[in-house]
Symmetry: C2
Subunit: 147 residues, 2 copies
């Protein structure tokens, strides 16, 4: 596939320019933060390669690169949880994008059944050396559960 | 340094367990999304290694790993834009954390002078092949500028 994006220029061009020149990492990926357009909730963090980014721009639906399955991933293709992109932004050094999405299907996002992937709070405090394990506290966020 | 975190267990333990077992990548890093606790705005995406994650938990202030400078990075140490962590969450597969922060100093975050790093909107639409470059639209978000 021909890369559909121009190569990054100078630091000034990357940071202040008006052209999308994604800085893909050694694996050809950039990070993508998906936020629910309805309430601003951070839904998930995933990755895009050039092809998934291009498909996302073209179709207006989120396409990712699944690092575990090593394949293009049209989010929601099987679950119905399609993410329609309302807005996309890119960060200063163009190695991350932020998308605000309308979520289809049952409104969920996480493969565990939650509305988002960040359903556990990390206990703050000393976590180093010989201290006890850092604990997590579950936050109810199942789809179709109000608790 | 002794890793202050337990090694990831089974998929079920990672996803549903009550212990933080970060899944650092090949470079020893996990992604961290920082969100402004005041208004939910996504401020930045950065990375943490085990030591910066441990310091963040211990001090309640965001420490990152600077991939460009290859060093621990106490956010705001020079700029005053300290990020006090109000809440930290971890995602389903424990390779990303989300922190809600109170921002110190002038309230900024991005090294370019903006309140956040996502100050350019990406033009949606065909971006592949022989199409014109994908354009970016600047969104004013300078600190101390109301425009």
């Amino acid at each position: 596939m021909t890369l559909p994006f121009a190569a990054p220029g100078t630091k000034a061009e990357v940071e202040e320019g008006a052209v999308l020149t994604p800085r893909f990492d050694a694996n050809g990926l950039i990070a993508c933060i998906a936020v629910d357009a309805a309430d601003g909730r951070v839904l998930m963090l995933a990755h895009m390669n050039a092809e998934s980014l291009a498909r996302t721009l073209e179709t207006g639906e989120a396409w990712y690169w699944s690092r575990s399955r090593e394949e293009l991933w049209h989010k929601g293709a099987t679950s119905g949880q399609i993410q329609r992109v309302v807005e996309m932004r890119v960060d200063c050094d163009q190695d991350a994008v932020l998308i605000r999405v309308d979520v289809g299907g049952d409104g969920g996002c996480c493969h565990t059944g939650r509305r988002d992937c960040f359903y556990r709070r990390v206990e703050l405090g000393p976590g180093g050396g010989t201290a006890a394990p850092v604990r997590l506290q579950a936050i109810a966020s199942r789809v179709n559960h109000s608790a």
